[in-house]
């Protein structure tokens, strides 16, 4: 398996974590002061997926423009996109932390988004290992399926958590979330290119 991965490395998306981890760093004594500084300061990239998703989540609490609850769940889309772009930087435990923040921010019972975000990250990780790196349309379809399951599970878990809610608005939110996928993926791709360089290893 490792050999296969080594062979495929030239066409896999560039995963920055592998370069930043200490055991892949160049020997300390071979770097001059400027290179060491660049190496250490380069670690801010580790926080990019988390920070981007957090900002998307914050955007969801923006003063509402429409009375109907149709704002897309962009935080979920951000989570999905970053789990496909940088799986090493969006592990399920980090998704759990993001979900806790979402629960506190959206006044939902604690644990609902936490469970669902962690589950989503874990699922995408397994799915990518098996069927990874597909066409754009395929990724969109997978995201749509995840959004539908996510909203349905939210409905169930809100009932379990003691705050039952009607299902219909969740359906509308699922629709707008599917439509918003291209915008979020374009945004995250831009961030990815700025922070991590071109998408394919040179």
């Amino acid at each position: 398996m490792a050999a296969v991965r080594q062979h495929q490395q030239h066409r896999l998306p560039f995963r920055y974590r592998d370069r930043l981890m200490a055991w892949h760093a160049p020997p300390w004594r071979l770097m001059n002061a400027a290179e060491r500084r660049r190496y250490w300061w380069g670690h801010w990239r580790l926080a990019v997926p988390f920070a981007t998703t957090l900002l998307l989540m914050l955007a969801m609490t923006a003063p509402l423009l429409v009375p109907a609850p149709v704002f897309p769940h962009v935080a979920l889309l951000g989570l999905f996109v970053w789990t496909t772009f940088q799986p090493g930087l969006m592990p399920p435990w980090l998704a759990f932390v993001l979900g806790m923040v979402a629960d506190l921010l959206f006044a939902q019972p604690l644990g609902i988004n936490a469970t669902l975000f962690a589950g989503t990250a874990g699922f995408v990780r397994l799915f990518e290992a098996r069927y990874g790196h597909h066409a754009y349309g395929f990724d969109w379809a997978v995201a749509a399926a995840i959004v539908i399951v996510f909203e349905a599970a939210t409905w169930v878990l809100m009932g379990v958590g003691g705050q039952p809610i009607p299902l219909l608005p969740l359906g509308w939110q699922a629709l707008t979330t599917m439509v918003a996928y291209p915008v979020v993926v374009a945004l995250c791709a831009r961030v990815q290119r700025v922070a991590f360089g071109p998408g394919v290893t040179p």
């Binding site: 050999a3 003063p63 019972p109 469970t115």
Partner: protein, 317 residues
């Protein structure tokens, strides 16, 4: 910086397998923790109140700053609008003012009579107390919980369970409070229940949010008078939180389910009044009385409260 990674060895593979195992275990543990948290939230909904308040305090100032320029633009547009249609509006308002003056004279007479009657009946009425006037800085537009954040918190005396009233009518009630911010449950949230009275017929009912733009009116009490589109609903004062007479909405569809358009919209209401609960129910009123006298039968059968411990009799020498 670019350094050739060391060639893969079997130790590397083993390490990768170990890491995969650890990651799977951590993921499972994290999901299990989440499910456990949901169960805890069901049993103890107010458990994370402090954390929620802290998060509110972090987010609210951000939106206060972000929306300031937009508010400025909106105000400038309002001014421009004011100048544009000033003459037309002036004529219309003068016509309305004539009708309103006549209405006001009748109302003044009514109020005098009402005051006299109340004095005759020695009717004690609770007064409305303003706690804080604050700005709505943001509102969730997701489809799970409909809430807004206001920039006033425990430091201003705002706690959970207070009525929030805008210029046009009722906005909601506070459910969480941080030290400088609070969260308002809007009328449109499915958890919101507002006791109302229909102005025209005098029937009481509940207005319930359904997470859609329109509210629903349920549990109408009283004679079965037909409703009309356009009937106004105001708060009835039942339940002790909302003061009576605050506009809640207008019936737009009198068929079941009765749909109600809210009177106030949280986006339009830049500033809201947060008042004290109209008739706060004392917290200890519902608690059971632990030091109630024990019936004599229970005492005889030994089922009452334990008798005060007496020292065992000391045998005399």
């Amino acid at each position: 910086m670019d350094w050739t990674p060391p060639p893969r060895r079997s130790t590397a593979m083993r390490r990768e397998q170990n890491l995969a195992l650890v990651s799977a275990v951590v993921s499972g543990a994290v999901i299990a923790t989440g499910l456990l948290l949901i169960v805890i939230a069901r049993v103890n909904p107010d458990g994370a109140a402090r954390m929620r308040g802290f998060m509110l305090d972090l987010v609210t100032p951000v939106w206060s700053v972000v929306r300031a320029p937009f508010d400025g633009v909106g105000r400038a547009a309002d001014w421009a609008n004011d100048y544009a249609g000033a003459v037309d509006r002036n004529r219309r308002l003068e016509a309305e003012l004539g009708a309103a003056r006549a209405e006001l004279q009748r109302a003044a007479a009514d109020r005098r009579v009402l005051t006299t009657l109340k004095r005759l009946d020695k009717l004690a009425e609770p007064t409305r107390t303003l706690i804080s006037t604050a700005r709505i800085v943001s509102a969730t537009s997701g489809s799970v919980v409909r809430s807004a954040m206001v920039a006033a918190g425990r430091r201003d005396g705002v706690i959970a369970g207070l009525p929030v009233i805008g210029a046009d009518g009722l906005i909601g009630r506070t459910i969480e409070a941080g030290s400088i911010s609070a969260r308002v449950l809007l009328l449109t949230d499915p958890a919101s229940r507002i006791p109302v009275i229909i102005e025209r017929t005098g029937q009481v009912a509940l207005v319930v949010g359904t997470n859609r733009p329109a509210l629903e009116m349920r549990d109408k009490v009283g004679a079965d008078l037909p409703l009309r589109a356009g009937d106004r609903l105001v708060t009835s004062g039942d339940g002790g939180v909302f003061p009576p007479g605050i506009p809640v909405g207008t019936i737009i569809d009198p068929q079941e389910p009765v749909l109600v358009r809210p009177a106030a919209h949280p986006v339009g209401a830049a500033y809201v009044r947060i008042e004290a609960a109209y008739m706060a129910i004392a917290q200890d009123a519902a608690l059971p009385h632990y030091d109630a006298p024990v019936p004599i039968e229970a005492r005889r059968s030994g089922g009452g409260s334990p008798a005060p411990a007496t020292p065992p009799p000391v045998p005399l020498p």
